[in-house]
């Protein structure tokens, strides 16, 4: 058959269509009926390093599972798509579920995306385990009765812990406070949590600045100048993307660290970028659910941190722990539900029933999903020190708290819990 222009165009269109519907990456398994897990994680932009870290942990978890026979005898394959804006990410969720026919979806870092994607996943009855980005809006639960979606710990956990540490160690040492938080739901929730706790514990204070830099904005000189002008005794910031090291650099250059205390509950996402040159000692620094250098770490964490260093010459942040937990919880639920069925592969509803209340060993310690589909994990924060073994700031003394003491219980609103709940400093 002669090759005509039309044939070539058809072939090109076919190749284009195939390329357009192909997943970003597929990390396979060999042989047998595979169990497909769809991963949605940011691979570029300001959250790119974070998504990459989570993906690496998911790959490690997948390789470990496959090395020991897969999940209930089925080899595991990861189908990876990119998390970008809410609209496009929901389209990729559709693709993972309808086209790739994945058994479970895991991932999501941004609360901006999870807020939109959570209801979409519920509508599609797609079993989804969020790594991060709890689906809340203004501290109010936006999916109180989720069936198919399992959520990470509340966004405010790290803010609550940092606030409690600030009250515990700095009460009476600050009178004016300023907030510089990313301008989206996460930043606003955390700032609200900090102020609510100061009020709950009767800490007299005056807010002298509330700044809302755009997420990922790389010129923060105006914000640093505004902070300097406001002269706060304490700055609370839940900045956590690639803009955080820039803020620290510019704040250091402006001499802000000489007079001000800093509480940064989510700085651990950028820990290796926060160099000793421009990150002060003595700031409250949150590593969330994984502190890579925790002296009392479990053998599992030590094995993972060693693998991470050997493979990538880097130290993991908490997104690795979130990704590992999602994978481990799903694996454990499938195996338990399968065992209950005499070894047969369980259906989705049975897996969900088993996930509710499940507890597994994760990288940062014991972690579980509550009956209401919210995770309970262990949080690590402390005060920064400069250690000659690292060119970035690490923790001196490490404070460890369970999310059970940092987030609202099931059925209670955040405001009620802050006002009347059992909260210990």
């Amino acid at each position: 058959m002669p090759t005509t222009r039309r044939t070539v165009l058809k072939a090109m269109a076919g190749v284009g269509l195939a390329a357009a519907t192909r997943p970003l990456a597929s990390y396979g398994a060999s042989g047998g009926q595979t169990l497909k897990i769809g991963i949605l994680a940011p691979r570029s932009g300001v959250a790119g390093t974070v998504g990459e870290c989570g993906l690496r942990a998911a790959l490690w978890a997948k390789d470990r599972a496959n090395a020991s026979g897969g999940i209930l005898g089925r080899p595991v394959e990861l189908v990876v798509e990119e998390e970008t804006n809410p609209k496009d990410t929901i389209q990729r969720l559709n693709k993972l579920v309808l086209q790739d026919k994945v058994d479970c979806v895991q991932g999501i870092v941004s609360s901006g995306v999870s807020l939109a994607m959570g209801p979409a996943a519920e509508d599609m009855k797609a079993l989804t385990l969020f790594w991060d980005g709890t689906t809340q809006d203004g501290t109010e639960e936006s999916m109180p009765h989720a069936r198919y979606v399992f959520k990470s710990t509340d966004n405010e956990c790290e803010a609550v812990m940092a606030s409690l540490l600030a009250i515990k160690y700095w009460r009476g040492k600050f009178a004016t406070v300023a907030g510089v938080n990313p301008d989206y739901t996460y930043g606003r929730n955390n700032w609200a949590a900090f102020q609510a706790l100061l009020k709950r514990f009767g800490v007299e204070h005056k807010v002298v600045a509330e700044l809302w830099p755009k997420v990922g904005g790389l010129d923060l000189s105006s914000h640093v100048a505004a902070l300097k002008a406001a002269k706060p005794d304490l700055v609370f910031s839940s900045m956590l993307f690639a803009d955080l090291p820039i803020f620290m650099k510019q704040a250091h250059a402006a001499g802000l660290f000489e007079t001000t205390k800093f509480a940064f509950p989510a700085a651990g996402w950028q820990h290796t970028a926060l160099k000793n040159d421009f990150t002060p000692e003595g700031m409250i620094f949150g590593h969330n659910t994984l502190y890579f250098a925790y002296p009392n770490a479990s053998p599992l964490q030590k094995e993972f941190v060693k693998h991470y260093w050997d493979a990538y010459k880097d130290y993991p942040n908490w997104e690795a722990e979130r990704a590992f937990f999602a994978f481990a919880a799903y694996k454990s639920a499938v195996e338990k539900a399968g065992k209950a069925k005499g070894g047969a592969f369980p259906d989705k509803e049975a897996i969900i029933d088993t996930l509710e209340g499940i507890e597994v060993e994760s990288l940062g310690g014991k972690a579980r999903f509550r009956k209401d589909h919210v995770a309970d994990q262990i949080f690590y924060q402390g005060f920064t020190v400069h250690d000659p073994r690292y060119d970035f700031a690490i923790l001196g003394n490490v404070e460890v708290r369970s999310a059970e003491k940092l987030q609202k219980p099931s059925g209670v609103t955040f405001k009620d819990w802050i006002a009347n709940g059992k909260i210990e400093i």
Binding site: G45, V46, A225, A229, A242, P245, I246, A254, G255
Partner: protein
């Protein structure tokens, strides 16, 4: 008073960055009548190349204090991309503005993917290198010396461009071409060559700006789009095609933003676009632009 100066300097620094991008945009539009959406991409290219140049130079023995020269070298060296890109744009000089916008927007996407291919998706930065130059000032008012160097560089570019356009023979040729391309060609001016030089100059303003600013911030894939939006606000306020307008527009945007962040943070972006809307209503050609015939 110290606080006021802090905010003022923060605003002027941001204005300097915006001017370096907007000046290239203005120059190219002023002479070639092309709205170059890719001006922010040249800035990003300069930032990434600047980081690589400094890293390479320091690894090969350049004293840390001389890193500024590696940045300038990177920014100027990227002049090589000016002529081929201008050659590509020749295909749309006489076509509808929509084609020009589409082509330059395609360049934005192409350059972003090139950056992703070479440097990866994650933001790149130079650590605290710029603090090697120390700070200026005393007590509460201290400013990084490097920030003042960036402001000075923008000032030099503004003065240099002004003198170049007004006092040199080539500057007069540029202005003549800007006024009337056909008559200039009839009088023997090599319009094609003028266009190549102007576009290359516009490109270098962007790449040099990106290289100079990156030590104080970082380079990321989305920086070009973020910056070009603000650069257009500068251009609308100052008037399309006017270098003087770029100076005034950049200062307006930079200072409005700095003071809004300090006093009404919720209006950080709104304040800028209120000015843009006011200019569009009351002086559509911008403060220094020429009204369309």
């Amino acid at each position: 008073m110290t606080s006021f100066l802090d905010i003022l300097l923060g605003g002027v620094f941001h204005a300097a960055v915006l001017f370096l991008v907007a000046a290239g945009l203005q120059l190219v539009f002023g002479v070639q009548k092309i709205i170059n959406l890719a001006c922010g991409s040249f800035y990003a290219l300069g930032a990434y190349t600047g980081i690589s140049a400094v890293t390479w130079a320091l690894a090969h023995g350049l004293p840390r204090g001389l890193f500024l020269f590696a940045l300038i070298g990177a920014g100027l060296g990227l002049a090589v991309i000016g002529p081929p890109v201008e050659a590509l744009l020749r295909t749309v000089y006489r076509r509808d503005e929509a084609f020009q916008l589409l082509l330059t927007f395609a360049l934005v996407l192409i350059i972003e993917d090139i950056l992703r291919m070479i440097w990866g998706a994650n933001p790149q930065e130079l650590g605290n290198l710029y603090m090697d130059y120390g700070t200026v000032g005393k007590g509460a008012l201290t400013v990084p010396t490097y920030n003042l160097l960036v402001i000075a560089a923008a000032l030099l570019v503004a003065i240099g461009l002004g003198l170049f356009l007004k006092r040199t023979r080539f500057g007069r040729l540029l202005r003549a071409t800007a006024e009337d391309r056909e008559t200039s060609a009839t009088l023997g001016i090599e319009v094609g060559r003028v266009y190549t030089v102007v576009f290359t100059l516009g490109t270098v303003l962007g790449t040099l700006g990106g290289a100079l600013v990156v030590p104080t911030a970082a380079a990321s894939l989305d920086m070009s789009v973020d910056l070009v939006v603000e650069a257009f606000a500068v251009v609308v306020i100052g008037g399309l095609g006017s270098i003087r307008g770029a100076v005034v527009g950049a200062l307006t945007v930079g200072l409005m933003r700095a003071f809004a962040v300090s006093f009404v943070p919720e209006m950080e972006m709104l304040s800028i676009y209120l000015v843009v809307i006011a200019v569009l209503i009351f002086r559509p050609a911008g403060l220094f632009g020429k009204a369309a015939a």
